[in-house]
């Protein structure tokens, strides 16, 4: 970190001793998993810097934004319309949920058999380790799964900041109407807390900013299809994870700079692994930062991860919002219809996910798919079986969490799967 942020952390109310411990574990993990990689693009330096300042410079930026009366909106799901947050000059941040932190604390409020992502966001807050959650003015939840929606009730009692959007479970006309109304209600809420009205101009600018970010991520995704891929799966995953909390304009610029370099690598035939290395597409539950476990196992077993059919991944940037609207109301409609296309496993039926997975598999020229479900993430765990019967490419299902206790067995299974691809 470039300077001592202790006074800031103290002011925010973090548990300083525990927080130092967390940062040192994170920094060791980052060194072992990320900085030890070979042939990394120069453009990753920016993202390394962002990670090294994840609880430093970025927190200071948010702190400054707050002083300027901008609202910090925390989220947990790709269903939360980022455009609206930017349109009231708010700051959009995805909250920490990707490490086994504070689980003992979390288990005082939720059962042990709760998915790791839920236990993590509760644990981070309860142990006073997440500066983002402390800085938020509003935390937006959503009714995607039973675990999350019930946990949000408890989280509201703890934080007093929850706002929950209802995500329908089907995509019929009446569900679309419900969702459209939810988006309008969210707009009203944002206008109320920020004291700013969304105008056609501010909505257009916000939509363009978010679309530009999605386009940059799409560009990165396409580059991973080359053999050899110019970037590792771990690095691409990191960029996707950072997309949830970095300043969107700066982030987009940096991703595009990275992609310029990657295109140059492709022209030179330069990759992070030898040509012909088996390419794995990962599909399933989200990879909240700093969950790098599966990618690290895959990439240390002689394969390369070339895509994530996941909310931290393709599901986050696949669709753009139609920018051709001429009123705020029309803009809201376009936004609502963009978000309802997301093929989250919480929907029934959700057949478009299988089609999307198949086309992504072909687009990325992958050799096999590893379906990853977080344990107790029932919607994805069940869809994993359904997909298995409907695809003809090499496919393996795994269920895991953030712990290291299954590392040995997981590594054997992943390696054996990769052996079958060679």
């Amino acid at each position: 970190m470039t300077k001592d942020y202790t006074p800031l952390w103290k002011e925010i109310g973090l548990d300083l001793a525990k927080h130092d411990g967390l940062l040192s574990v994170l920094s060791d993990a980052y060194k072992n998993i990320y900085l030890s990689q070979k042939n990394r693009p120069e453009g990753m330096k920016y993202f390394d810097f962002v990670i090294s300042e994840v609880h430093g410079l970025r927190i200071e930026e948010l702190y400054e934004a707050k002083k300027e009366k901008r609202k910090i909106i925390g989220t947990f799901c790709v269903y939360v319309p980022e455009e609206l947050i930017l349109a009231v000059d708010g700051v959009f941040v995805g909250l920490c949920a990707g490490a086994e932190v504070g689980f003992e604390e979390a288990e005082k409020y939720v059962p042990r058999n709760t998915c790791a992502l839920i236990k993590a966001f509760m644990g981070f807050k309860l142990s006073g380790l997440c500066p983002y959650v402390e800085l938020t003015d509003l935390i937006v939840g959503e009714t995607t799964c039973d675990g999350k929606k019930k946990a949000y009730e408890i989280f509201d009692e703890i934080t007093k900041k929850m706002y929950v959007m209802e995500i329908p479970n089907m995509k019929n006309e009446m569900d679309r109407e419900l969702w459209h109304k939810e988006v309008i209600k969210f707009k009203d809420k944002l206008e109320e807390i920020s004291g700013k009205e969304i105008t056609l101009d501010s909505l257009k600018r916000a939509t363009e900013t978010v679309n530009q970010k999605r386009l940059a991520l799409q560009r990165l995704s396409k580059l991973r299809a080359y053999d050899p891929p110019p970037i590792s799966g771990l690095d691409a995953l990191l960029v996707n994870q950072i997309s949830f909390y970095d300043d969107p304009v700066r982030f987009t610029m940096k991703v595009n700079e990275l992609c310029d370099e990657l295109e140059q690598r492709v022209r030179e035939g330069k990759g992070v692994v030898p040509k012909g290395t088996p390419k794995i597409l990962i599909s399933g539950s989200p990879f909240a930062i700093p969950n790098w476990k599966l990618h690290a196992i895959i990439e240390n077993s002689g394969a390369v991860a070339v895509g994530e059919e996941s909310c931290v991944g393709n599901r986050n940037f696949r669709e753009l919002t139609d920018e051709s609207f001429n009123s705020v109301e029309e803009g809201i409609e376009k936004i609502a219809s963009r978000y309802i296309k997301i093929d989250c496993a919480c929907f029934t039926p959700n057949n478009e996910r299988i089609d999307n997975l198949k086309s992504l598999f072909n687009e990325l020229k992958a050799d096999g798919v590893i379906h990853y479900s977080l344990q107790f993430c029932t919607p994805y765990m069940i869809e994993a079986f359904k997909i298995e019967k409907k695809v003809d490419f090499p496919y393996m299902r795994i269920e895991t969490d953030y712990s290291m206790e299954d590392f040995g067995q997981l590594k054997t299974r992943v390696e054996a799967f990769i052996e079958t691809l060679k």
């Binding site: 206790e405 067995q409 054997t412 054996a416």
Partner: protein
């Protein structure tokens, strides 16, 4: 010069040397608390041309030098195909893992299942149950199958042990308990077999394949014959040795 396959399992380290496809020598030692040291001793005593490591501890040697590795799934596939060319399905029950592997015509791995994390229903489980009932591991696997309705409901090593202890306290015959334990493991193996493959020939390997009672119960339940090769416990090491010769022997 010979080629060595070394299978560093959770309970035993197995090593097999081959030359032109013929088995020369074999070694089986307990894994102990220092498997790297044990493995290096084996390597030194064999002094092979090339070695391939497999098993749970396969990466120990790859960190230490240039020993290439294959997973035990691939190693068992190669070993089983070598001993029983018509093999299509492998049951491997080792110290802490149960694996079911299905092979294609050429002997490549087609599909596999493996237990996720705990040692439920594996070799370690059998060891603990045998000891709770006062049997040696050899006696345990040679108990005669008996008719009985007694069921062990838990596959968790810890819970099953307390279940067994409570049955002993109730005065249930230990032989009856032993058979029930084997039936419970067989049930679990069969449910994995049904997910992967029941295609013959079915080969049973790994340390637990020496358990005749378990083999008999599985055979009876699936109504198919199971082959237990004489070298069932060194099948992984043999597969690794064959891989070493095929890969580096040319």
């Amino acid at each position: 010069m010979s080629f060595l396959g070394i299978d560093i399992g959770s309970r035993y380290i197995k090593a097999v040397s081959i030359e032109k496809g013929k088995i020369l020598e074999r070694t089986v030692v307990e894994t102990s608390y220092d498997p790297l040291k044990k493995s290096i001793e084996i390597l030194k005593s064999y002094n092979p041309r090339r070695t391939v490591a497999t098993g749970y501890g396969r990466h120990l040697l790859s960190f230490n030098g240039r020993t290439p590795t294959i997973t035990e799934i691939k190693a068992f596939a190669i070993g089983a195909k070598y001993l029983i060319p018509s093999c299509k399905t492998i049951i491997d029950i080792g110290g802490q893992d149960t694996k079911i592997i299905s092979l294609d015509e050429k002997g490549n791995v087609k599909k596999f299942e493996m237990n996720d994390r705990c040692a439920a229903g594996t070799g370690r489980f059998l060891e603990i149950m045998a000891s709770a009932l006062g049997y040696s591991i050899d006696e345990f696997g040679n108990i005669d199958d008996i008719e009985g309705t007694l069921q062990i409901s838990s596959m968790c090593t810890v819970f099953a042990e307390s279940e067994v202890i409570s049955l002993i306290a109730k005065g249930v015959n230990r032989k009856e308990i032993a058979v029930a334990i084997h039936k419970a493991i067989a049930k679990r193996v069969i449910s994995m077999l049904k997910k992967v493959s029941l295609e013959e020939e079915i080969v049973f390997a790994g340390g637990c394949a020496g358990n005749t009672l378990l083999k008999n119960i599985i055979e009876r339940e699936i109504n198919k014959k199971i082959i237990v090769p004489k070298n069932h416990h060194i099948l992984g090491a043999l597969g690794a040795a064959i891989h070493a010769e095929n890969y580096f022997g040319g």
